[in-house]
Subunit: 570 residues, 2 copies
């Protein structure tokens, strides 16, 4: 295997050879900041997934290192992220109870299956499957997920129990338990939320005004949430608030993750396979978008197929080190980038940082209130909620609006997986519907030119014996019947018609269905005593048509230019 | 409601006003021939569906009359057809035993649901849904169905019991019962098959040689099968072969169909809904194809939306008159046409003919051997089996070949419904896959012209600061990521690049996903210090883009012609 090929499959060889002292110190610095930021995030997203907090930490160790070896982005930071954690909870929650050992094994199995699936996609270059998740569907889904996540965390802020996989379930259970409301918990939760919003919006200008540089001010405000963690933990510990009903994280095992093995039970795999596929594709789409944005800043290249392998390895890593499904996260990657990370080694150093936390600092978070973690999640996730896509699609395309609207509605009312599937199906249906009625124009010759234009828009010359139709779309199974129908309609109206010409200047491909349709049109026009012609067929399309039955039996001719069809009347 | 509108919804007013003596006598003649031909066909297809033979007759009475009122084809003959009967058996057989009263009610309910579904499609102009059934998938499905039908009828020819919904089941049950083999049955079956093949291929030339005209010779050979019915019935009756194990049709109730009422049980509807949709769409596609072929001969017009309503009403008619699901049949329609039918009144007369048969002649078919009916089915269906679609698609498009191959394989090995669904899903997947990698060319200027061509095919001038990409496909959710990736790849390779131009001459539409992608590309190119331009954007596309965020924030310009981009370097 030559070196270039090796670089393709192990991008680490690409940047590893140029590694030096400066890149090292930059990477170390970035790793320190990201580590501080990741501790609360990791704990919080594990809690969101219904898993023990340490699993969030574990999910940011081995996965980061594996991504550093196999991934193509220099600065992407992988780990548990909000939407993937929500999907994890939704898919496992269907058949196991949060907190149970089956639940934990299911999470590990989900990460394993997701890893295998992503690697298969990458290896066979099947990344195009992610295209089924159209932009409006993803946007709608993320917004609806954000709403569900925020609602699901309200229980920690209010100190009451709740559960459920859609808005209606969560809210109704919340209300039925509202008598358990804990004022102290609520006070901690709300003040953390307010503090975090202030950190996000008010701290940065404050730091600037007291003389910090833009860059450091921005980074400090990014790690601000840790202050909330520390303050609220000390507060709870000092006043022994856990005796007054404030729920705390409790004992988090000290030490490195132990080796975990996914389940290979058929029934578990059968229940998880659909979720694993959805989760993988959504994670991939989110991750590659972050990676490409960051890469553009330094004109670096992201290879989507290799990204699939990188993310797949990261998930396998999570599966074997007691983690949960992971993907590239937006905020952590941006912080990593802004903190000056130059190579994936920064990720590896972050992993080491988290190992140290896990080895020595977990006893310190015993008194960390769950309300603080919930507040962290809520503040992080509220920025995902963005209804502007509804407005945008409404003005640009009502059909896309329908897809977004349905995605949001189904996600909120039925659940996240149903929402994604509804979105995908609607997108496909809409695409087939739209392309099933392509723009078709009857054209005529613009006087004294060789140009042919739409008869209903321009003053053009037509011949009653010739009908020329321009189709502004490639011909494929969804739209051929429409074309057929249009032609039959025209010939039933115009009884002195002798020639039908299809002007193919906008036809990029003709699939087998369309070919069969053209054959049928030709046969039927022969029966009707009308000749069938094509004009302006593109080179690649003509190459494919050559030698087919259709061309062999075509009653008319193939004209290079539409202008040449004038010879038909001479 | 004005008269023209009335004509749209009740095509009968279109042809009814011009009805005269000549059309009447032509229609009566056609009806007589079609009636003779339909008797064995109707009995046979009811048997194929696992239903009592009289239901086949009933399904050709009221449905034909309703189609005559609501349908747009002048000569289409509706009734039970092979593929629809097979689908009926497959869908009902899942939860009821052939011969049981639940089975019969399920068939009636299926016809009812199919009728309602078709009428809804027609009313809301949703006929495009039939486009999901691409031509290769339909061809493959019909061929595979033909094989299953032929195999399923072998039991009647061999005189043994069999059952099952796919090739493997049917054949294995057949072999396990092979000891019941009845030689007399086999002799009747095989000689009928041979006779029918001779009627099809040998009778016509014989009739010509003895002086018949082409037209009459052709029609006589079409009604030849009746001779087999009469001969084998007399043969069985005379030799009392029913005592020697030859299975006969037995008692068929005399008289007109009684009013039947579909089931409205939720569980029945739930089990049948998917089948009803598939069956309706397949029936519609088959029917409209026949109707259009016949209409082309007389330059008449078929209105697909009204056809849906016509077929829907026919199925409702079947549901309320103890029939089974129906659609327009190929052979009966061709015979109707060839026999000189001029208006749908011929269909009404056929219905009257069948009523007379049902009122007076059913005792005559008591001794009709089932082997004869099976032979009728086999000979009719063998012409449906056509593997040439495999060869055609193999040469034209490997992807379409895959769709056909999978449809045939799944239909044969798993069952008819699974086969259709596999075919539909594969077609969509293939379409998304193919359009997800559109043809993209980097173009340059042909020296001394204003034309721009593919750099890898022509000797053209390019500027290292400008990259011009021509996309030969409309932009939509399936292919935007491919375009994005291509652009990012190019800018990561060419570090002195300052401008990226997308030449949009072949882009017919830009959906919301693609718009979002263009926005992203623009943003990322701004970060990379590259300006983003479009050229040769089509009118309708530009109209939609106006006022969007993308255009407002576009870093570059929109050039009317690609040639104008040369101003970028000045």
């Amino acid at each position: 295997m030559n070196v270039n090929k090796l670089k393709n499959y192990f991008p680490i060889f690409e940047w590893g050879v140029n590694y030096n002292k400066l890149t090292f110190s930059n990477d170390i610095m970035a790793a320190l900041i990201v580590t501080i930021m990741l501790v609360p995030q990791s704990l919080a997203y594990a809690m969101l997934a219904g898993l023990p907090p340490e699993m969030g930490l574990y999910a940011s160790m081995l996965p980061i290192i594996l991504y550093a070896i196999f991934g193509t982005s220099r600065t992407l930071a992988v780990g548990p992220v909000a939407v993937v954690s929500l999907l994890t909870a939704a898919s496992i929650g269907k058949f196991a109870l949060p907190g149970s050992s089956e639940y934990i094994i299911a999470a590990i199995t989900l990460a394993f299956m997701s890893g295998i699936f992503l690697i298969i996609l990458g290896f066979f270059k099947l990344g195009f499957l992610a295209n089924f998740l159209s932009h409006p569907v993803i946007s709608g889904f993320i917004t609806a997920s954000g709403i569900i996540i925020v609602t699901s965390q309200l229980k920690h802020i209010l100190g009451v129990n709740s559960s459920g996989h859609n808005l209606i379930e969560i809210i109704s259970v919340l209300f039925s338990n509202i008598n358990d409301f804990s004022f102290i918990t609520f006070a901690i939760g709300i003040s953390t939320i307010l503090f975090l919003f202030w950190v996000r919006n008010g701290l940065y200008p404050l730091l600037l005004s007291v003389g910090f540089k833009r860059h450091s001010a921005s980074l400090i405000s990014k790690i601000g949430p840790v202050a909330a963690i520390i303050a609220s933990t000390i507060f709870v510990w000092f006043f022994k608030l856990d005796f007054y009903g404030v729920k705390i994280v409790g004992e988090v095992p000290k030490g490195l993750p132990s080796l975990s093995v996914p389940s290979f039970s058929f029934s578990v795999w059968n229940s998880l396979i659909g979720s694993a596929i959805l989760l993988s594709l959504i994670g991939f789409v989110e991750s590659i978008s972050v990676a490409q944005t960051l890469a553009a800043k330094r004109r670096q290249r992201i290879n989507p197929d290799q990204e699939l392998i990188g993310l797949g390895m990261a998930n396998l890593g999570a599966a074997f080190s007691s983690g949960l499904p992971v993907t590239g996260g937006f905020s952590r990657s941006v912080v990593n980038y802004d903190a000056g990370a130059e190579t994936p080694a920064a990720g590896a150093f972050t992993a080491i940082g988290l190992c140290l936390v896990s080895l020595f600092l977990t006893p310190l978070i015993f008194f960390l209130p769950k309300a603080t973690l919930a507040a962290t999640i809520i503040v992080a996730v509220i920025s995902l909620i963005d209804f502007s896509i509804l407005k945008k699609t409404w003005f640009y395309s009502k059909a896309d609006f329908m897809a977004v609207f349905l995605t949001i509605l189904v996600t909120l009312v039925i659940g996240v997986e149903a929402g994604v599937i509804a979105g995908i199906l609607t997108s496909i249906l809409i695409h087939i519907f739209k392309t099933s009625r392509p723009h078709i124009a009857v054209v005529g010759q613009v006087p004294k030119t060789e140009h042919f234009r739409n008869v209903s828009r321009h003053n053009v010359i037509t011949d009653p014996k010739i009908l020329t139709i321009r189709v502004d779309e490639s011909l494929y199974f969804a739209n051929t019947r429409f074309l057929e129908d249009r032609i039959y309609k025209e010939i039933s109206k115009k009884l002195d018609l002798e020639h039908v010409v299809i002007m193919c200047s906008a036809i990029n491909t003709i699939d087998m269905s369309a070919l069969a349709s053209l054959e049928l049109i030709n046969e039927r026009l022969i029966i009707s005593g009308v000749k069938f012609h094509l004009s302006e067929v593109k080179g690649p399309v003509l190459d494919k048509l050559k030698g087919t039955n259709f061309i062999n039996k075509l009653s008319g001719q193939i004209f290079q230019s539409q202008f040449q069809t004038n010879s038909l009347t001479k």
